[in-house]
Structure formats: structure tokens, C-alpha cells
């Protein structure tokens, strides 16, 4: 690992080390570009991962996170964002799916929808295809590059049989960035369970032990864990010039920069731009459109778990190895725009109880807990339409330990999201009833851990914050490299797209640097 001087203003400074930041750092280092990565969290090792849901939540999720408000009752707590080297790639379940052309053309496909702030992405699926290809190879996604699918676990067997009796066809163990056999120096999956608590053996891809390590091997990366970016600074011409951050000891430092890339996970990235307001940029950095913080999306997300007549032991094995894609399409006959996926899911007992039966007590709780070994489960993941009012602003009261305002999230559901979830819950219930479910439990509109939008990509600088390269419309040497760039959410877990966009952005930055255009 190299040590880069604070006054060195020829480097790229990347804020965050997850799917976007970690990948971008490696891709830039491989192309000869020196990078400083500022990561607010610690660098954990495999030994730090615990197969204990509460213990890992305490290790990964910051206590001084954003506030969440809504006019309507919202079944969503704080976003589950990981603060550690590797970011949320430690926690993710490994589902690696491409966005479809119809989703990238959201405004064109769905037409105008009242209350939705839809635009098309300024990039097409054919432009993204080579980068998706590269991302799938990098992550080792099952079902691509000759990599076998993961085997069927018990939870999948229930899901598969239920789906087939409903006539569904596209039902597999899915595209997962989890090794079905050893690959790229990482072992095959041992069906440990606990994918969300950090894979103890590294069968699941995380930037922590792939991209970051490869970037360090080039000698061009200076990774600084426990360093929290507080503000992006600019020069007299308005170009970004450095990043003010607090180091592990709480000392304030400024790292000079030639280019800055923000990849702190959507909510934190837009918060940082807003916290970087100055006399030149009074509404926050890169915010001439007023779109920074707006169009916050998660996914339309509900859990459905069924008590089956015999044991399932769904927690034994890869926790999300089951995917149904038939409903991922735009079909107005269903009464809503866009589509959804059904994905198997199983938590440990603690998270199952808290996710499915919050507030339960007495006999209801006891009965549910007794049924735990017989539960089969899935999660609905549907497109969540962008709304201008669903947004991140700066809290008026809440401050982090450095005195910077925390993010305040306002979110409410669009009627389309409600209609989509209603349809999906109905189908999921039929799926399980058809193979003998005795009781079906639904946790409706539970918050997902996906954070998208708030610095969205747009063809016109009026409609969004960044162009198709993730470069801010306002400031040429300021980029966004995480899910906050998403113009719309699609019905796909966001990580693969974040990685593909980071690869594409690295290529663009390296070329622009070579041409002295940045």
C-alpha cells in the first residue's frame, strides 16, 4: 500500500469503499491512476465476522445514521447502510442482476404517471452490456461465464414447486455473486447461511477482499479506514480541489485532489454534497438543478413467509438462492407500471421474529417461534417509482459526532408501489398455498436495504445531478459512483449495476486524465 501526501493534488479521491468506490479504486489503480480512498468505517477481517445477526448489525451499521420521516405510517426503519471497508458488499446477499432495457427507458416504457418524476436513463442496455459482462466476470456471477448455478436448498424446493404449480417458468437458484465452485482465489459456497453477516469464507464477493486487495497490490492505492469525509472543497474557479475529513483520531485533515468521486451509499452521498454548500454553491455542491437529495428510492419490498406442513429449515444454506423472474415486466393489465421479482429469503430466528412479528407478544409470538423450522420465505422486490418529494435533506437538529448535520429522509409510497405489492403478495400467497402452506405471514412494505437516486443521472442538467458517466453536470472533476446515480430503480438488486457503472466511469476518468480533459 502506498502513502499519498495530503498536499498531492494529482490524485483521485474516492469517498467510500463499497461496490462503487472499491471497484472504481481498483479499476483506476489498474489503469495507472493513484487513488486515496476515504472510508468512514474500520477494516474488518474474516475473524471479525460473526454468525450472529445482532452482533454484526452493531458492528456494521452506524448508530448516528439518518433520520426517517413520513406523512403516512411507514413500515421502515433507518436504512441499513454498512460503515466498513467493503461497505454494503459485506452485508449484501449476492444477487447480481442486470437492469433491462424497458427499465432503463422507464419514462418511455411506462408513460407519464401522476406523482412520479420519471426519466429515462441517459445510457442504454447495449451501451452497458460490455460493462455488465465485465462486472459479472469480476464478481463470478452464477449462470454467467460458464459458472454453474448454486444447488437447490430446502427453501428453494418449496419456492420452486409452488411457482411451477402456478405456471411460472423462469424459476432458478438465480444469479449470485457467490462461488458455486472455487474461483478467483475464493472458495466455493459451504451453505453456511449468514450471508448477510459477512461471508466467513469469502465465497460471496465483497470489495473488502477482492477489489481493495487487488488495488493495493498495484502500489497506487492509499486506503484510509476510519476517515470520515465532512466536506468537499473547491477552488476560486469552482472546481473541486480537495476533501476535508476527520481521521481515526478525530483530527481534521484536507486531502488535495485532482478528481473527487463520491461513493458513500446514496443517502450519505447526497448528504455530503448538501453539507458541502459554500458561498459559490449555496444550495450544496453540484445542485444547480435542485435535484440533489431528490428521487430517493429503495424498492417496493415485502416479506412473505409460510408455515409449511413439514420442516423446511430454510436458514440452512445460502440465504437468497431462489429467483422468479416471470413478473418482471411492464404489463398494464396487472394494474400497475413496471414489475417485480420474487426471491427466496431466510433469516436466523432473531431477525425472522423482528422482521415478521414486530410487537408480537404472548401466544402469537410463541406460536410463530414454534413454527420457525417449518417456515419457507420469500421477499418481493419491485420497482419503486421516483418521486421528487421523497428526498434527503439535512437534519435541522441531528448532528454526527463531528458536528455535521445528519441526513433526514422523507419518504412515502406511490400508489403504483402499493398496487404492485398487492399483486405480488397475492401471487406469493398462492404460491405457498398451492404446496400446502397452513398459514401465510406478510410483512408489507418492509424497508429494503437498497438506496438509490438522490444524485440521479440525466441527459438534461435540469433533470438530474450527473451525466451518463456519473460526472456531475455542474463540476467536471466531481463524480458520483454509487447507487445515488440511478435514474430509476428497476426491479433488480442494485449492486451489479453499481459495479458496471464504476468500471465504465473508471475507463472514462482514465481516458479524460490521459487527454488532460479533467
Amino acid at each position: 500500500m502506498s502513502r499519498i501526501d495530503l498536499r498531492d493534488d494529482r490524485v483521485v479521491v474516492i469517498i467510500g469503499s463499497g461496490a462503487g468506490g472499491g471497484t472504481l479504486a481498483n479499476e483506476l489503480c489498474q489503469r495507472g491512476v493513484r487513488c486515496v480512498v476515504l472510508e468512514a468505517g474500520p477494516r474488518l477481517s474474516f475473524a471479525d465476522f460473526e454468525q450472529d445477526e445482532f452482533a454484526m448489525a452493531r458492528k456494521l451499521v452506524p448508530a448516528d445514521g439518518p433520520e426517517v420521516t413520513s406523512r403516512a405510517p411507514l413500515n421502515q426503519s433507518r436504512p441499513y447502510v454498512c460503515r466498513a471497508v467493503g461497505g454494503t458488499t459485506i452485508h449484501w446477499s449476492g444477487i447480481a442482476l442486470r437492469l433491462q432495457e424497458s427499465e432503463l427507458r422507464a419514462r418511455t416504457t411506462y408513460g407519464p404517471i401522476a406523482g412520479a418524476n420519471l426519466i429515462d436513463w441517459p445510457v442504454s442496455s447495449s451501451e452497458l452490456a460490455p460493462y455488465y459482462e465485465r462486472a459479472e466476470d469480476k464478481l463470478g456471477v452464477t449462470g454467467t461465464h460458464g459458472i454453474p448455478l448454486l444447488p437447490a436448498n430446502n427453501n428453494f424446493k418449496v419456492f420452486y414447486n409452488g411457482a411451477k404449480q402456478l405456471g411460472y417458468r423462469r424459476v432458478t437458484t438465480g444469479r449470485l455473486a457467490i462461488n458455486s465452485r472455487p474461483r478467483d482465489g475464493r472458495p466455493g459456497c459451504l451453505q453456511l447461511g449468514f450471508c448477510l453477516q459477512g461471508c466467513k469464507i469469502g465465497a460471496k464477493w465483497s470489495t473488502l477482499y477482492t477489489e481493495i486487495v487487488k488495488a493495493e497490490a498495484t502500489g497506487r492505492l492509499d486506503l484510509r479506514p476510519r476517515c470520515t469525509a465532512l466536506q468537499i472543497q473547491h477552488d476560486k474557479r469552482g472546481r473541486v480541489s480537495g476533501v476535508l475529513y476527520a481521521d481515526a483520531a478525530g483530527r481534521l485533515e484536507v486531502q488535495k485532489a485532482h478528481v473527487v468521486c463520491v461513493a458513500a451509499n446514496a443517502v450519505e452521498s447526497s448528504r455530503l454534497l448538501l453539507n458541502s454548500a459554500s458561498s459559490r454553491y449555496p444550495d450544496g455542491m453540484a445542485n444547480s438543478s435542485g435535484q440533489v437529495g431528490r428521487n430517493y428510492m429503495t424498492h417496493s419490498h415485502s416479506f412473505v413467509m409460510a408455515r409449511m406442513p413439514k420442516p423446511v429449515h430454510a436458514w440452512r444454506g445460502t440465504i437468497q438462492a431462489g429467483l422468479l423472474e416471470d413478473e418482471r415486466r411492464h404489463d398494464e393489465a396487472r394494474g400497475f407500471a413496471s414489475g417485480y421479482l420474487l426471491q427466496t429469503i431466510a433469516f436466523g430466528l432473531p431477525f425472522t421474529v423482528l422482521a415478521m412479528k414486530p410487537g408480537a407478544w404472548g401466544k402469537e409470538l410463541a406460536d410463530f417461534m414454534r413454527s420457525y423450522p417449518r417456515l419457507a420465505g420469500l421477499v418481493i422486490l419491485g420497482e419503486d417509482l421516483p418521486q421528487a418529494g421523497n428526498r434527503v435533506t439535512l437534519s435541522k437538529q441531528g448532528k454526527d459526532r463531528f458536528g455535521m448535520p445528519v441526513a433526514s429522509i422523507y419518504r412515502e409510497h406511490h400508489p403504483n408501489d402499493r398496487a404492485l405489492l398487492q399483486h405480488a403478495i397475492q401471487r406469493a400467497t398462492e404460491l405457498y398455498k398451492g404446496v400446502g402452506a397452513e398459514e401465510v405471514h406478510v410483512q408489507d412494505a418492509a424497508g429494503s436495504t437498497h438506496n438509490m437516486g438522490t444524485n440521479r443521472m440525466s441527459a438534461s442538467p435540469r433533470d438530474g445531478v450527473v451525466n451518463s458517466w456519473g460526472q456531475t453536470h455542474d463540476i467536471t472533476n466531481l463524480f458520483v459512483a454509487d447507487g445515488s446515480q440511478f435514474s430509476s430503480s428497476g426491479a433488480a438488486n442494485p449492486t451489479l449495476t453499481i459495479v458496471a457503472l464504476a468500471v465504465r466511469q473508471a475507463q472514462y476518468i482514465a481516458r479524460q486524465l490521459g487527454a488532460r480533459a479533467l
Partner: protein
Amino acid sequence: MSDEELDTYLASPRAAPLLDAVRSVGVPVFVGLPEVWAAVGYDGESLSKGGYLHRGFNDLTWLPEPSSDAAGPVP
């Protein structure tokens, strides 16, 4: 307070905030207890036993096996 008075109090709306507080603290502790896991049949950590690859991740036999194009081979 007699037992009867206590029962009446706990069943009354006035006790709801107290019971909510007990629940919100107590249930997460309760569901995290290894003794409770054992009673329910939840295994907890799996690494020390090598995961479930050779210990029943796919031992469900009361439904037909998925077709070979839906899932990969067991390594």
C-alpha cells in the same frame, strides 16, 4: 397492589405504554438467547460444523426435486 389489581391494571389501556416498552426491549433479548434457539430448533452459528453443505441444506424430500436447469449440481 393486589394480584387482582395488578391483573386489572395490566389489562387496562393505561398499561399499554409500559408493556410496549417491555416488549421492545424484552423480545429482542429473548429471541437472541441460545436457550430459546435450542427450544425452537434453531442452530445458530454453522461455521464450526462446516456449514450445511454436507449437513442437510437440501434434505427436504416431501416435494419433488427441481429440474436440473433450475439449479446447479451439489459440489
